[in-house]
Structure formats: structure tokens, C-alpha cells
Symmetry: C2
């Protein structure tokens, strides 16, 4: 079974937007074990679209289109596919009713061209759009499966996951479920190394390693006749992977390190405050990305100059003089100082040289000290990262969160 992706939209050809739908759909097909050999982008032009469709029909079992389902005249994906595959277009009343409801709900008038969205190929499988107005659909003709999804990513992704993937399960031979084991403190290749033998020995579930900024994860995917059977296959393997990766696993099927740390602090009734130099507020920003963080997060101080370190955080002048602003000693006094100043149980201090300038032989660009104060004492780490300002800062913020997790949340 192989699938070909066709994105329809002149705005992609002009470079106004990037084709993220292709990634969304390809990832899902990869999980299903369906090969993708070609992705094509074509504009809102019926002749060129038809050419691409015929080419795809010639070489693929499944054709999945994204875009061109909207209300305007240049939205012509459905009409063109119906013509190529000899299907009649009919008005789908339930879709029309949904579109009418949608406009009534947002209190705007429904212009007549919106009705076009409810015209679908006859006898197709309708994908109800809960995230916008244009329904998607699927049909089988001439031995090919044809699926149509809307272009906007916030509609395309959920419809693909919720409607198109279940449609594809029987073609892929069952139901597919994945679980993600999130890891910090281990590179992707080191993770792969630890999992290598297990990965090699497995057919179902499969285990795949992925890298993200400053972290990585292992995705375990099982194929079975239904969700329950897939979960039963997954459980022991997820446990094996977690055991092999040990303490470097920060969570399974979780959103982020900041979410895990936040949940842990909330459960233990602990409060947090942070003092940042080189990360400049990034750690505080990431902690407050999590809704509801005011339950455990009291606040932070960005001390971008020595005066603020001394005056607000109480870092000693002698410390700054003897060891410098970028030093283990300063990081520790920042961590303890911010906890005291803000009255928090846990304090974090980060000081370093984010670059590009400012490095010396003794203290190179990319050097960062990170300290966590808790229960009367500090744990401190020294890291050096040479991948540029953004990566240095992100890695330092992630390391701080991970240190809280290891020190306090276990």
C-alpha cells in the first residue's frame, strides 16, 4: 500500500506559506506503515491539478489531497477529482446544515458561495469538520482510495487524525496506537544505542527514536485489531523502553518538561522562583507557558547586570569580584537569593555566556552554570554548548527544569 500527497494552493507555490500539512499527513501514514513515494504541490488551476491527479493515480494506491475545499471559485479540488474519477457531485444536506449553524453561532451572515462547501462526490464517506466549515471526504474508485482534507493546518491535522486515519486503518490492516517516551539528558544517538537491541528484536510494536530541540523521544507504535489490543501490546514494551532509558525519561505521553515540573511542584505543594542572566527570561517564559502555573510559580528576576544580582538577589560583591558573574558561586547565590527574595521553596540560578560575543579562553561562549536551591542546599551543573545563542539559552532553560525534576520530583 502506498500513498501520494497532493497539496492544492497557489499560496504554497508563491512561498507565502510552508506546506506543513504534508508533514502532518506523512507522519501519520508512516505510523500506519503506508509508504509515501511522492508529495506534490500544485496551484489552483484545474488543468495542472488534473495532470497531477492522473500522474498520482498511475503510481499510487491512495491519493490524499489537502486544500482547495473552500467556498471560493478557485477552490476546485473536489470537482476536479470527481471529474477524473467519473463521480457525480451532489448536495450533502447535513453538511449544509452544519455550515448554516456555524455562521449562526458566530453571528455572521452566510454568503451564498458557502453552500459550495456542502457539494460532495456522490456516495462518498463524509469527514465532518468540527474545526471549520469545509467537510472532507473519501471515496473508492477505479481501485484507488481518494481522500480530501481541508488546507488550514488547524483543520487538516485533527481531521486527518480523527477521520482519515480510522478510514485508512483497514487498508493498513488494523488500528495503530503510539506512545511517546520523552527524554532529557541523552542525545538521540545515545538513546538509539541503548534501545538498539530491543528495536532490532521488535516487529510489533515498533520503536522509533526522534530528536527535538535539546531533547529527544522514543515513539512506540503498535498495530492491532482495535485500540484495546494495541494498548495491551504497547504496555510491556513501553515499560521495557522506560527501564532501558532509566532516569533520563521525564515522562510518557506528556506535553513538555515544564508541564511535568509544574505538575510535580503542585502535587508536593512547593513553590518556585527563578533568577536568570544569560537566558534573559526564557526559563520564566517557558514555566508560564503552562496555564495555571500561578499555583506554584511565584516569579523570577532577570539580572542582566551585576547591580541587579547584588541589589535584588543579594549576590555578594566579593563573590562577583573573586569568581566573576559567570561562575558556580554566582549561580548558587542567585538560586538561593531568588528563593529568599521571593519567599519560594525552590530557587533556580542561571548565569552564562550566550554569545556570540563575550567569551574568553577560560570562559568560552556557550558556558553556562545552572544551580537549583532547595532545602538548604544547592545542586549545580556546568554546561558548554557551541550551537549558537538560541540553542545555548534553550538548553540551559531545559537543563534547569530537568535538574528540578531530578532533585525534587523523584
Amino acid at each position: 500500500m502506498n500513498a501520494e500527497l497532493i497539496a492544492v494552493g497557489t499560496e504554497i507555490l508563491l512561498g507565502d506559506i510552508v506546506n506543513t500539512d504534508a508533514q502532518t499527513v506523512s507522519q501519520g501514514l508512516s505510523e500506519l506503515g503506508i509508504d509515501v513515494f511522492y508529495q506534490t504541490v500544485v496551484g489552483d488551476n484545474p488543468d495542472r491539478l488534473e495532470r497531477v491527479i492522473r500522474e498520482a493515480a498511475d503510481r499510487a494506491d491512495i491519493i490524499i489531497t489537502t486544500g482547495g475545499l473552500g467556498p471560493t471559485l478557485d477552490d476546485l479540488t473536489k470537482e476536479t477529482l470527481a471529474r477524473v474519477f467519473g463521480k457525480e457531485m451532489v448536495l450533502h444536506e447535513p453538511s449544509l446544515a452544519r455550515i448554516r449553524d456555524f455562521f449562526a453561532r458566530i453571528g455572521r451572515e452566510m454568503t451564498p458561495n458557502n453552500e459550495k462547501q456542502a457539494w460532495l462526490p456522490k456516495d462518498c464517506n463524509v469527514f465532518v469538520n468540527e474545526w471549520g466549515t469545509a467537510p472532507g471526504c473519501a471515496f473508492e474508485a477505479a481501485g484507488k482510495h481518494v481522500l480530501m482534507l481541508p488546507g488550514p493546518p488547524r483543520e487538516c491535522e485533527p481531521m486527518f487524525r480523527k477521520c482519515a486515519m480510522p478510514y485508512l486503518y483497514p487498508l493498513a490492516g488494523g488500528c495503530i496506537v503510539s506512545r511517546n517516551i520523552r527524554v532529557f539528558g541523552l542525545g538521540e544517538s545515545a538513546m538509539e544505542d541503548r534501545l538498539h537491541d530491543l528495536m532490532e528484536s521488535m516487529q510489533n510494536p515498533t520503536i522509533a527514536p526522534y530528536a527535538k530541540i535539546s531533547e529527544c523521544y522514543a515513539r512506540v507504535t503498535a498495530k492491532a485489531k482495535d485500540e484495546e489490543a494495541a494498548q495491551a501490546l504497547l504496555a510491556p514494551v513501553v515499560q521495557q523502553v522506560a527501564d532501558l532509558l532509566g532516569d533520563d525519561v521525564y515522562g510518557i505521553d506528556v506535553d513538555s518538561l515544564e508541564q511535568v515540573v509544574g505538575d510535580g511542584l503542585r502535587e508536593r505543594g512547593l513553590t518556585l522562583a527563578v533568577a536568570e542572566s544569560c537566558t534573559g527570561g526564557l526559563l520564566s517564559k517557558r514555566i508560564t507557558d503552562v496555564p495555571g502555573c500561578s499555583e506554584y510559580y511565584l516569579g523570577g528576576v532577570c539580572s542582566y547586570c551585576n547591580e541587579v544580582k547584588e541589589k535584588i538577589l543579594g549576590v555578594k560583591g566579593e563573590t562577583l569580584k573573586a569568581y566573576g558573574a559567570v561562575s558556580q558561586q554566582t549561580a548558587e547565590e542567585m538560586a538561593e537569593g531568588v528563593a529568599r527574595a521571593l519567599g519560594a521553596d525552590v530557587g533556580v540560578g542561571i548565569t552564562g555566556i550566550a554569545g556570540p560575543g563575550g567569551g574568553t579562553e577560560e570562559k568560552p561562549t556557550g558556558l553556562v552554570y545552572i544551580s537549583v536551591y532547595f532545602d538548604g542546599g544547592c545542586t549545580t551543573r556546568r554546561t558548554v554548548n557551541t550551537y549558537g545563542r538560541d540553542r545555548v539559552r534553550n538548553h540551559a532553560a531545559s537543563t534547569a527544569l530537568d535538574m528540578i525534576r531530578r532533585r525534587i520530583l523523584r
Copy 2:
């Protein structure tokens, strides 16, 4: 003249990465006035790549490939293109010398397979890779222009701009130069409205509106025989656009609002400190995204609870009680308080409800007060934004920067 883009890489078909190179190249071709009718992605498979190349040669004047120029066996873009167009492959000694130098510089051994990157189609135009190891190249054969660029975006983008675009100038009938007029405080459609008559009346230069997160910009693009002639065409139109948009223009050909504000503060010898509640450190993070910001940025306080507002920033208990933490009065006391506490000339205070929870009828989710303290007084704005937590926070941080610009830097 029309071009077709072919991205070569199985990792795109698997959904591991998104094809941003296609956007980069399409944007540039759009600036050059070269049409793109198709973009295709194909894996590291010689037969399927050849099929796609033949298809492209059948319908396009220019073929641009990205990816598949690396040292490993599955990098086969050059070899396949050379075969299809009947070109011999030869070793390009200057490229080999550059690759050897590169490995010597980073102190790693050059494995023999790296030599493969220096083999290029005979008599091609070599694009020197200053950002990595694999050179790109271009040749003309069978009436088609064929250009090859490396896949990694940090190599593809600069090589496209610096090497491929100049190669394409004569095909596009000259040299193309763009200037970007960056705007905050005006939506994209309002900007288009103000520019409408001018846009309609222009053929060369052209004016195009673009939207970004919380801001927008107008790109003015001129086509001429050389750079100097293009700049001469641009100058009066850029001035006209800037006049029509007035105070909402924060810069022309600048990196970001935070860069403009930073430069302005540095020039005036002023220092800055910020106090954030709902933005949680985001403003501080953005200010410190700019290298060298320690010349004007002293630091910030994220006051995520009332105690920190009172204790560190000196917001009065009565103010919090009478008006609440989210109020004009609190924002102003935060702005003045952080300037005093950190000894800065300019202080910013931001307090609001980022959501999703926490809103009331009187103070809805998305309500933010932003205050700038300078020279003994405060300027304050109240904004309401309903596009979710991230957008509320981003818009508040941008508004604060823009208020500094309008208040102090004019």
C-alpha cells in the same frame, strides 16, 4: 519563464522534517517574477527521482533541486541529473580543497566518502558553499536550466540568495531588489487599505503586504538592469509607502522591533528594566534575543504573584486591593517600581489575563494593561485580544516595545 522545484529526501516523505526549502526558493522566485507551477518531493531513490526529473523537464524551463548533495551513498541528486541531461561527472579540485580545509578547521578527520561532494557535472557553474561542505551548482542543457542546492535550510537559504538568485537574474530579465517596511499598530488589511491606490498604480516597483505574528510589513520590489538602478527605483516608492503608513512604521529593512528599540536606547544612552506578570518573562526574553543588549538592558522582574509585586516592585497593597492586580494603576506602579528598583531610565509594567482561565465579565481573558514609565510619568495602554494565550502574550510584549519606540525614540 517558469521553474519547478524538486526536493530530494526520504526524511520529508516520512514527515520527520517539513520542506521549508520549498518556501525559501518559491519566495525568491516570486520576487524574481518567475512562476512556479509545481513543487515535488521525492525520496532517495534513483528511479523515482529520474521519473520526477523527466516530468519536470517536460513542463518547466528551470529545474531547482534541494537536497541529496551530501557524502553518503543515498545522496544521488547530482548523479541522476547528470545522467538524465547527458553530462559527465568530474572532480572539482577547488571544492575538494575547501572540504579538506573545513575538516582541518573543525579538527575532525575527513572520511573518504566526503570526496564525493566535490564531484560535479562537467562545465557547471559552481555555487561555493560558505555555510557547509557540499557545493551547489547550475548548468544549462537541452534548453533547460538546472540548479542544485543543498538540503539543510541554513545552507540552502544563503546559497539560494547569494548564488542562485544572481544566476537567475538574466533569465528573469535583470536584477531584483526588495525593501521591507515593518509596521506595528496596523492590521494587514488596514495597511493594504492605506496602500491600495499606490499599489494599483505601480508596475515596477511592486508593493506587497504581508502579515506576521502581531505585526505586518510591506515589501517593495524593483526589477532593473543592476542593483544601483533598482535602488534608484525603490527609494521614492519606499518613501511614499512610509509616508502613507506614518507613525506605524517602526523600521525599514530592520530585524525586529526589539532590535529597533535596543538600538534607539543605546544611541540615547538610556537603560531599560521590565516588570511582567501575564507575559511571564517573554518580553525580557525577546529583549535579550538581541546580542549586545547588556549595553542598555539592566534586567526584569516577573511578578507572578502579588507578594512579588509588593515586595520587589513596591506596588502598594492598597492599589492591589482597590483596583486589582490587573488594572491600569497596578501596571503603572509596576513600571515605575521596576525602574526604581533596578535603577533604570525606562520601566515597563505588564499585567493581564493570558488565559485560558481567569477571566471575568468585567476583566475578560485577553485583557492586558501595559505601562511605560519615563522621565517622571507613565503612558499606559489597555488591550484586549481573544486569540489565545500565546497570541495574547506576544501581542502584549510587542505593544510594550512599540510604546517605548513611540514614547521615547521619536
